[in-house]
Symmetry: C7
Subunit: 246 residues, 7 copies
């Protein structure tokens, strides 16, 4: 009780630290991320794989409209988890930045540079009054100087670079799965397989191809490609043939 | 009690997350949507059907003034549920955007592009202080590249694409009805029939033609047409003849 | 008690929904409307009749200064109920809009267009912080394309089109009276008679000619005309001769 | 108790209605008016009379500095009651408006037009946050098209036109006195006599000439003239001669 | 208790009236004035005398830096009481206004005009949020059209014209003394003597010449002159010779 | 208890007076000054001496970085006590003002003029919402027209001129010491000796040369000179030789 | 209890002092610094050493992305502790300032000048409403005029110059270790060794080379160089050979 009322004294504004130096609103925004379905990103030597659970609440909903993976530029994609409308704002910001780089300097924006401009924007919403933090985590993946790279943004405005990472609901289980099963010698198909398996980890079963959204950006063509249902089913079938991949 | 006072600590502002990552004001705005009469939208191969209950509180009120279906551009219409004046603001925004597209690029705005510009506006009202969320849900239907499309916007600023969807009071009952009875091979009359039947579902009776507002946009002429009372009655009569359509 | 304190938690700001999706400040503004004396508007085939109770607190007050019916443009008038100074703000807005239309396009503003520009203004005051809703309801009547039209604006920013409507104190009683007695074949004098009778309904007596302010806009001259005391008395006398009109 | 705490929940801001549709801050501003000494205005066929009690707290204070009657333009004066500094702001506003009319259109501003521009200003302070209402009531008197006219402004931003009116402390007693004794056939001296008698009504004695400030604007010269102490005493002496005027 | 908690409900903001129409923050600012040492101003036929107590908290403080009498323009001075830094803001404002008058119109600003521009500024701080009233009262004395004039400004933004007035701590005692002893036939030395005696009234003794700051502006040279310690002692000595002036 | 809760009702904002006319936030800012180590300033016929305690929390900290004495212009220095970062803001302001004077008028800014521009800035932070007062007191010393002058600024925005003054922790003890021991015939070395002795007064011992920062501005070269450790030790040695200076 | 509720009365805003002159939000921001892993900086005759703990939460995270040491300009680096995203904002500010100096004056910015521009920015966030302090401490190290210099910035906006300093978690233990073991005759390798040993002090073991990020700026090349893992291991191996360095 004491602890709770103590916490409530400091948790209703961006512009307030608690006595132990915490920013509760940022921590609550992380809870908003956990309320969303998970997304996964990982690197292979040949590219980046982004994958996301896609829960559709009705058979009449267009599956494609539950957008979890967004193209930012040819060579960069973003997978998101958390508050959907907040994610769209940040993706729009990312697209404007990528276009700006193209227009001003005639070149593709770097994955790290892009991520920083997103996290700078996120940070401002954690320090200024009259707003709330973004309730979303992003996985920003792309090719930079021929190398695949993957970044995570969190609601505090911090970014982390990963070989393989999960955001959203059941993140801990999925991340554990990734740490156990990630290998640096995967080909892209192997990466897709791992990403989907990881998303399935919390439910102890292989997720159906139609319930997952997968995209890749390879160093070959440096262009985000959605993975078709057919290809996905064929990859997942291989998993079953090969026996338990888990 | 505990739960309620806990909730009350976080539910009075746009710029505040609850400890479990919820935005209560957005959830309350969804309740405002449920207080409104229902609207339905659905796709047929040949077009989009929008239908809305029209409750008139007095026999002296002009039925047409209880506006639930709005023309945005020739090829796009919006059906709304919830706070009426909020809906008009968003419809006005949509019209300005459609006109702007026409003026700047000399072309019709896409249904998805238009929806996004609406939901971006809605999202801003969920993250900034000194305002409240929009208490309204919209069904945006139209023809894009010859194909009928239908989107829903919700008070969080999220959009969903649907084959058939309901918003407003008794939404769950109506959506269930749509899921059971929707077929992809309807002609437009069949779509109108289903839309009106769905609106009748919560009350176990066929709604009177005069109590419902229906409009269609077909791929033929790409132009929103109000369905006249006569045509509506004739379609509904066919239903009765054919036996229980329910 | 519970209910009341529950309500009090959400009723002190424009920018806040209650858990059941209500905007209490807008509802309280409607109470401000009820605190005002009533106004009535109705359509006849030949024109619009606006009528308003005019309570004068002292014999030394100039009766004409208790202004309830306002000329907006030649062809449009507004009757108001509620907070007097708020009404004047909206009437001034309406006048500026009508003049703007004349200046920019050289034409008379439509009754519906004018009403919408008023309700848009009203809606903004229900969604933005640092202000309160307008505590006033208006009846906007006029001739558009040769047809008489009548709209109501309410404090939420919603508008309704009517054949006959009442706003302000005892609205329910007066509206019931209108619904019982309104006929579409009234001539203007019949309309005036009904309007004044309706205003008298809550008090079970015919209101004195001097306590009521009546104006008409006919399709003939499309110009708002105040009805003189003499003409009013003569019309009301006819009522008495014809027997109880009630 | 209940009632009071109920009231306190809604009485601390301009931008808030109480559940019964009242604006408490405006009502409290009316109390500020009652805290001031009274002013009286009245019309005679030949002009306007403004009169005000002038309480001087020390024999060393310059009587003229307790300003209750202000010249706005040659043909318009204002008598005030309530918060003195607030009154000066509104009088300054009135003067700027009158000068603007002269500069822009080369003509004298009308008494009604001037009053409206004052009450519009007052109304804004009742609807916007970050301010308080004006704690003052004004009597605006002047000649317009050869006719004497008299308006009152109240803290809500409402204006009323009067033949004779009082504002400020003991307003009710003074207004009753005016209603009993006002006649439309007074000459200006008769008007002055009534105004001063009315101001004396609450104290059951004829106020001393030096404790009252009186000015007239006649249709003859359309110019505000202060009534000298001598003339005032002579008029009041006539009263005594004529017997009790009360 | 009741009364106090009642008061506390309304006393923490400029933009709020209490239920009985009071502005508590303005009243509290008047208390800030009373916390300051007193100042006195008075008129003689030949000029204005301003005098102020000067309390120095340490023998090492430069007596002149406890500034209570300020030159605004050659012909106008201000004596202050209350919050010292607030006074300096208003004096600076007064100086800028006086210079502006000189620059724009090539003439000396009038004492009344100057006072009004100060009180207008003060009033704004009593009606707008996000600020507090000025905790200072000023005595503005000077020569206008050859006549000595003296005004007081109070924290509400009201101004009063005086023959002789006191502001600050023990104001009531000092003002009583002035009312008893002020004569209109003083020469300037007599005025100085009275001013200093009045300042001594609360302590039942003649204040030491070094503890008082005195200045005069005579109609002869229309220029503010500080009264030297020597002259002051000589005048006060005369008092002693003449016997108890008290 | 009563007193405390009474105080708490009025002590949380710049824009609020307490019922007895106090500005608590300004008083609390004075407490912030007392939390800082002390600084001393004093005048000799030949110059100004500024001295400050310099507490270093670690042997690894650069002594010079605990800056208590700041050069504003060649001829003006500032010693501070209280919130260090606040002091730097005011010193920066002072430097910009001094440079501006040089640039605009080609002359050195006066000590009094400079002090006033600082205290004006400080005052604004005591009257405006959305900020807090400066938690710092400054001693501004310099040469003006060949004369040494010394001013103090306090958190209310008041300035005082001194012959010798202390600010910061233990100010009362140090000021008492100064009042007892200050003589107007000191040479600069005597002034330095007194300043350091005064700083030592609260601890009953002579402060070590390395724990104090001393600077002088003499009328000879009108240039702020830091007093070297060697010179300081030699002066303090003289004190010991001369016997207890205390 | 009393103390805590007392504290809570003053700890929720930047713009409020507590009765004892403290700024609680700044103190809480210092707690945010302590929640971060530690960083160390120290000077040797030949250069500056910056070292930081680098905790990586997952084996899949790119170690380099947990950025604790940032290059500002060739000759200046920053090590941070506390809120990561806040640190990035200040580092970005530092980079813009360094580039500005280069562009405007064609020269490298000084370490002290740069630090001041950072702490000025930090201070503003402690005095203005609508924001929170920066929850970060920085160690700014670089070469200025051929000399190595090291500054600390704290959340109040104060800066300190050090020979060797620690910020972040366990700062006290690490600083004690530095004070015991720092010598002014270290070569750069010795400095690196001490820095890493100090970081290990709280855990009683030598930190692994991979868990620490070290960079140097030497007076030779005035260019920040990251210390490679190999070199670090070799230096730390020397430590082990030489026996316990602790």
């Amino acid at each position: 009780m004491q602890g709770q009322s103590q916490q409530q004294a400091y948790d209703r504004g961006n512009t307030i630290f608690s006595p132990d130096g915490r920013l509760y609103q940022v921590e609550y925004a992380r809870e908003a991320v956990k309320r969303g379905t998970a997304s996964v990103g990982l690197l292979t030597p040949d590219g980046v794989v982004l994958a996301a659970n896609r829960q559709v609440s009705s058979s009449l909903m267009e599956r494609s409209s539950v957008e979890k993976i967004h193209t930012v530029d040819d060579h960069i994609g973003i997978a998101s988890a958390g508050h959907v409308a907040d994610a769209r704002q940040l993706v729009d910001l990312a697209r404007r930045r990528a276009q700006g780089e193209q227009l001003r300097y005639g070149q593709r924006i770097g994955v790290e540079t892009l991520t920083r401009s997103i996290t700078d924007h996120i940070q401002e919403y954690t320090q200024t009054g009259g707003a709330r933090p973004f309730g979303v985590a992003l996985l920003v993946g792309g090719i930079e100087n021929g190398e695949p790279r993957l970044f995570e943004t969190d609601p505090s405005g911090t970014d982390y670079e990963w070989q393989a990472a999960a955001v959203g609901g059941d993140r801990d289980v999925i991340q554990d799965y990734l740490e156990e099963n990630y290998r640096t010698d995967f080909d892209v198909d192997g990466g897709i397989e791992l990403a989907v398996s990881a998303l399935s980890a919390p439910t102890d079963g292989v997720v159906a191809a139609e319930d997952v959204d997968v995209a890749t950006i390879t160093t070959d063509d440096e262009s985000l490609q959605s993975v078709s249902n057919d290809r996905l089913e064929s990859i997942l079938a291989d998993v079953d043939e090969d026996g338990a991949d888990e």
